[in-house]
């Protein structure tokens, strides 16, 4: 919609300006023919408003023919033609209207008084129309730049939001409730262990909240979070869950985005180990390769297992975070080989303290 019509206040302002302009044009006539001032006003105000709206219509033309993509002489000729037409129409309407006012015989006839000035009035109308069209282009450019600004801002907010959601999604309700159930089991059978579990669980959640709030953390912090997670899960799954770690000491101080690995480990437990009657081993490896940190998580899985809806979200989140954070330098490779599932992350490292 037209920016002036869209808002009542700007419309009132616009029309008020027009009334002034109209009166300004009319002033010499009223001044010269004081007796007929009423007729002049009656003739002038509706025509003013008529032409005001006429000028607004150029906005839509401006939108159809953007200034940047239309050839300038085409644009100019188009607007000159349209302006001449608009001026002509207004004059024709004005002619009829003035004669109507005259026919009311409120004062002496005013139509003949306008006649010597018609050429001047006409060029004035054309000029004003062109001026307003130019103004419309200014408004449109302004609007567009504000829109792009808004869009970039929105994109930024969206990206941040995606990050946040990725972090929030870490807290898997299955994990929480099943762990609580394990604790409930231990409270009578082994109160000491139950307490250890409660503390582990509290540590795990506190830890993941802390890490989630940070921008970059050393890999060792992420690994200790994973360790807590796996210890808790080992209470649930017993001997079914085994872990093999092969951590290159050089990688421990590498700075990484927080909670990139934890979802992968969680996935390995939830869709791998927990779906196997005999369980299996999760293999976690880290190494440095060409100034890139390479981390892999490998787990056995049941090829017959049909994933329920809503799964695969963990990996999807990790993938989109790697993309946002590391761009083309980050990679995530997913490999299914028989009954082994492997995810490998690799991304550049900024600082390693030796």
């Amino acid at each position: 919609m037209h920016p002036i019509l869209a808002n009542r206040r700007t419309l009132v302002l616009y029309l008020t300006i027009w009334l002034f302009v109209g009166l300004l044009i009319e002033l010499p006539f009223i001044y010269t023919y004081k007796a007929q001032w009423g007729a002049f006003l009656l003739a002038d105000i509706p025509l003013d408003l008529f032409f005001a709206f006429m000028c607004l219509s150029s906005y839509y033309l401006c939108r159809i023919f953007p200034i940047r993509t239309t050839i300038w002489y085409n644009l100019l000729s188009l607007f000159v033609v349209v302006a001449c037409l608009a001026g002509g129409i207004t004059l024709a309407v004005g002619y009829g209207w003035v004669h109507l006012v005259d026919s009311l015989q409120l004062t002496a006839s005013i139509a003949p008084l306008y006649e010597p000035w018609i050429a001047g009035i006409y060029s004035l109308l054309v000029l004003i129309f062109l001026l307003i069209a130019a103004t419309h282009y200014v408004i449109i450019t302004f609007e567009q730049s504000r829109e792009t600004e808004l869009q970039t801002f929105e994109l930024k907010v969206l990206a941040q939001d995606a990050e946040l959601r990725a972090l929030r999604a870490q807290i898997d309700p299955h994990f929480l409730f099943n762990s609580l159930n394990s604790i409930s089991a231990l409270t009578t059978a082994n109160p000491e262990r139950a307490r250890t579990m409660v503390i582990l669980l509290a540590d795990f959640f506190r830890n993941s909240l802390d890490l989630g709030a940070k921008n970059r953390i050393p890999l060792s912090d992420e690994l200790s979070l994973i360790e807590k997670f796996l210890t808790i899960e080992q209470v649930r799954f017993g001997s079914r869950l085994k872990v093999a770690q092969d951590i290159d000491k050089q990688t421990l101080e590498c700075k990484i985005a927080p909670l990139l690995l934890q979802p992968l480990i969680e996935n390995a437990v939830r869709h791998g180990i927990s779906q196997l009657v005999e369980g299996g081993t999760i293999a976690l490896k880290t190494k440095l390769n060409n100034h890139k940190l390479v981390i892999s998580v490998e787990n056995p899985f049941d090829p017959d297992y049909v994933a329920k809806k809503g799964t695969g979200l963990g990996i999807k989140n990790v993938r989109s975070r790697i993309e946002t954070i590391y761009g083309n330098d980050g990679r995530i490779d997913i490999e299914k080989n028989g009954d082994v599932f492997k995810v490998e992350l690799s991304f550049p490292i900024k600082n390693i303290t030796k």
């Binding site: 409730f177 099943n178 159930n181 394990s182 089991a185 017993g238 009657v277 297992y305 329920k308």
Partner: protein
């Protein structure tokens, strides 16, 4: 004193601590006789067939067979209490069908409440709508991805891709996989509806065919044709079946 009927009960959960809680809560109830504990769906099917319990307390998310699939394989399921840690869909399904369920972790009172309902259920012998439940719980894919067949106490999980063809045999269907035949009590039409129509075609009253297994089709008699499968098996195709095949190939 009036002696209460003893409820023979099986616990099914793949997590030891979860079984531990139930064991503990049930231990001081004289009316419950815990006859078996199962750590996975296969064990559960076996135990239910052998022991014919009155009640089964059943976890949903388990390896190989989920809780619903276990029930599907048992001819006369006993009374059931489902147990789950977190599953919005399943809980909605249970509410919908007024099934007893426990949300882990639960306390003894909650379990006793569920058991009180079960006593009623056992006397009334109400059957559970397993299919509808599994579907409402979002545990049933739109098309069948694997067929479960019970063979005595053993359970075979057959991915539909491995099926060569299916042959009707009275009240049973014979599912042919790699030269072996698995009998399942199901009607042809029912199974036909569940299979992916882009992969399986009913070519004859007695045959459903895996399209990928067809090697060629030969004219057999004036109005009928013969499908030759890749392993050499020859199967009769009816006229209607041939029309369907023509559209697919």
């Amino acid at each position: 004193m009036e002696s209460k009927k003893v409820i023979r009960t099986i616990i099914v959960d793949d997590e030891e601590p979860a079984r531990m809680v139930l064991r503990e809560f049930l231990s001081d109830r004289s009316d419950i006789n815990l006859v078996a504990e199962c750590a996975n769906g296969f064990e559960a099917v076996k135990a239910m067939t052998e022991l014919m319990p009155d009640l089964i307390i059943l976890d949903i998310q388990m390896p190989k067979l989920n809780g619903f699939e276990v029930l599907e394989l048992v001819e006369q399921p006993p009374a059931i209490i489902f147990a789950t840690a977190y599953d919005q869909y399943a809980v909605k399904a249970f509410e919908l069908h007024a099934v007893d369920y426990l949300l882990k972790p639960f306390n003894k009172n909650r379990l006793n409440e569920a058991l009180a309902h079960v006593a009623e259920r056992i006397t009334k012998k109400k059957l559970l709508p397993v299919e509808a439940l599994a579907e409402a719980a979002g545990m049933k894919p739109a098309t069948l991805e694997r067929v479960l067949v019970k063979d005595g106490l053993k359970v075979h999980v057959i991915p539909t891709d491995k099926i060569d063809y299916i042959e009707a045999q009275d009240d049973y269907v014979a599912i042919k996989v790699e030269g072996k035949s698995h009998l399942k009590q199901q009607r042809m039409a029912e199974l036909e509806k569940l299979l992916d129509p882009a992969k399986f075609v009913r070519v004859h009253r007695s045959y459903i065919l895996n399209l990928e297994r067809i090697a060629r089709i030969e004219l057999y008699a004036k109005d009928s044709r013969m499908a030759i499968l890749k392993d050499g098996t020859k199967l009769l195709i009816s006229r209607a079946g041939y029309d369907k095949l023509k559209k697919m190939l």
